[in-house]
């Protein structure tokens, strides 16, 4: 890998991640998104190569096409105003996710382990007196179980991409191998990839452990390994992550993350 630092003078790591994640969204898909960073890829896909996706928010908005800015939450007016249907949680997480009508879900997490299990509940090992109390599952768990596949978008740090999560909120491949299906009877297919500000991790097809599949052009596999909390394997066919083009960057900055809160692009223009 190049380790070309010039790259991040023109595009931010989270813009690269957003673009990489958006490419999993193809026409005809029903896609669930959460808050924050996980909002952006589906919207980017919808505005570029996959206009015919149905975006669903668990609160009950189906067929949302937010206009104007990044919503504060999945209950935001910009989501509700342009949707095709406003309904309830039993329809979105039950009928759709549990019932097999969801193709792809974008999730964020505080921690992700080697099998793609996610923690959004507590940091620390004493559940009753946690070091940090986090929001909990929300609908993330329900989507991790029921969605055909899901993608994780998060920052890559050694205490966040870890051997074992402090608390397993949303299941990835559980204990590895076929355990997700054989032991725990889950319906969906688990994580397709974990996309971070440094790399794209994908599950090994046999033991389902996350491996380095792509490395963002400004960094190296060594850097990625250093920032990972377990002895992560590098795929033999590892490659550089594709960079977003001018069109995608324009849409991210001018239409989606106008304030730069999520991708941090405004920092590029600060002296």
């Amino acid at each position: 890998m190049r380790g070309d630092k010039e790259v991040i003078k023109k595009v931010t790591p989270m813009e690269i991640a957003t673009y990489a994640a958006s490419r999993y969204c193809t026409n005809g898909m029903t896609v669930f998104v959460g808050v924050g960073l996980s909002l952006l890829p589906a919207q980017l896909a919808q505005k570029t190569m996959s206009p015919d996706i149905t975006i669903v928010y668990e609160g009950g908005s189906i067929g949302a096409t937010p206009i104007g800015r990044v919503p504060w939450g999945i209950d935001d007016t910009v989501i509700q105003a342009n949707a095709e249907c406003e309904t309830d949680v039993v329809t979105t997480l039950g009928c759709m996710a549990q019932g097999g009508r969801v193709d792809l879900t974008y999730l964020g997490a505080a921690q992700c382990d080697r099998y793609g299990n996610l923690n959004t509940t507590v940091r620390g090992h004493d559940f009753m007196r946690p070091a940090v109390r986090l929001p909990g599952s929300g609908g993330a768990h329900d989507l991790a179980v029921g969605s055909k596949n899901f993608l994780v978008i998060m920052n890559h740090r050694a205490d966040r991409i870890v051997d074992r999560v402090d608390y397993r909120t949303s299941p990835g491949f559980c204990e590895g191998g076929r355990s997700r299906w054989k032991v725990w009877h889950m319906t969906g297919g688990g994580p397709a990839a974990v996309i971070t500000d440094l790399a794209v991790l994908k599950p090994n097809p046999v033991n389902f452990e996350l491996e380095i599949a792509e490395v963002h052009p400004f960094t190296t596999t060594e850097e990625v390994k250093k920032n990972t909390g377990y002895d992560i394997k590098v795929r033999p066919d590892v490659r550089e992550t594709d960079l977003p083009g001018a069109e995608e960057i324009g849409i991210i900055r001018e239409e989606l993350d106008i304030t730069g809160d999520f991708t941090g692009w405004k920092k590029l223009f600060k002296k």
Binding site: V35, G36, L39, E58, G59, G60, S61, I67, G68, V70, P71, W72, G73, I74, D75, D76, T77, V78, Q80, A81, N82, E86, T87, D88, V89, V90, L93, G94, Q98, N117, T121, F127, M128, R129, P130, A131, V132, R133, L134, P135, G136, S137, G138, G139, H141, D142, V145, G146, Y167, R168, T169, S170, P171, C174, S179, V183, W184, H185, M186, D261
Partner: protein, 330 residues
């Protein structure tokens, strides 16, 4: 039915459908005016130790006026359903109203960040917790609404959330499929904010309904705050718009801008400046106390709270903002 495994979490609301049925058999379903103030409604229907549920999703369509009044009246030791709960949760934590909690989504205000105040309370060890997910709590209300004691779901197995939940794993008698049995919740009292209601409690809602329709049907007592009162004739003119029937409702309080500082679909946008101020001021406990005295304890009602934060002029701005976004549909 064989229980294959079960979580260690407590079930705070009694799922017994027979007891709930006995209660509802005796409950008055007369079509009488239920108009009252928020203060009267909370005095009458919200008690220490009750199981409480608050409607809305995140900061959308929340009965903020009821949450504030619960703090002013000093309710304690309640059980609470932390279901898609953000600013309402932040308010209730500030008053340390509950000490038993069903968790699905708490502490965070979605993309706005985490509430330091709510975290402080949750990390204090004062609150007994059962963990669930949004779908789990939704079907627990669904079971309550249908008058049964549990609802099967295919989630929660294989996680720590199951370990800390009160769910039980069972096998389907028809197919042998493994399900997590979710115990029904019949809340002692719930509060919902709606767009329009008549004096009897027939309600209309625009936008997402989350789990509110099931919550309304499962609750033993229900407080409705509404943006506008409308006539019963208007309700009867278009009955298909009625999403909550009057006999679910115990109190109807007309509170325009009742979701402030949250948003109300088609009416007004959330006051992001005020929510940001709230998140910021929580970092300093002294300042936060003053902030609460100003905005909750020192206010007579919701109108006074809004008056202190920009009044009608501010609301007009939020209204225009909302109409700009909803206008984007063309």
């Amino acid at each position: 039915m064989n229980v294959i495994a079960q979580g260690s979490g407590k079930v705070f609301a009694d799922p017994d459908a027979d007891k709930a049925r006995a209660f509802f058999r005796k409950k008055n379903r007369k079509m009488v005016s239920k108009l009252m103030t928020v203060k009267e409604a909370v005095e009458k229907f919200v008690h220490d130790g009750d199981y409480l549920c608050i409607g809305g999703f995140g900061a959308n369509r929340i009965p903020a006026a009821v949450c504030h009044e619960i703090l002013r009246q000093g309710r304690k030791n309640m059980a609470f359903a932390g279901h898609t709960s953000t600013h309402d949760f932040q308010i209730l934590c500030a008053g340390e109203v509950f000490n038993k909690l069903d968790v699905a989504y708490i502490v965070g205000l979605e993309a706005r960040g985490l509430s330091v105040g709510a975290r402080r309370y949750m990390e204090s060890g004062k609150v007994e917790i059962s963990e669930w997910t949004n779908y789990s709590l939704s079907v627990r209300f669904k079971a309550g609404a249908a008058g049964v004691s549990f609802y099967p779901a295919r989630n929660i197995m294989g996680t720590d959330t199951f370990k800390y939940s009160g769910a039980k794993i069972i096998e389907c008698p028809f197919t042998g499929t493994k399900y997590a049995a979710m115990p029904a919740i019949y809340p002692d009292v719930s509060a919902l904010h709606v767009h329009e209601a008549d004096i009897y409690g027939n309600c209309r809602i625009r936008g997402i309904t989350v789990s509110d329709l099931d919550v309304a049907r499962a609750s033993k007592h229900l407080i409705i705050t509404c943006e506008r009162l409308i006539s019963n004739e208007e309700i009867r003119r278009e009955p298909s718009l009625t999403v909550i029937p009057y006999w679910c409702v115990d109190a109807v309080c007309e509170v325009p801008y009742g979701s402030y500082p949250g948003n109300m679909y088609g009416e007004y946008f959330s006051d992001e400046d005020h929510l940001r101020e709230w998140l910021k001021v929580e970092e300093n406990p002294e300042e936060f106390k003053k902030f609460l005295d100003k905005n909750i304890y020192g206010c007579k009602n919701h109108f006074e709270y809004i008056e202190k934060n920009g009044g009608l002029e501010r609301l007009q701005v939020l209204r225009q903002k909302e109409l700009m976004f909803t206008g984007a549909r063309s």
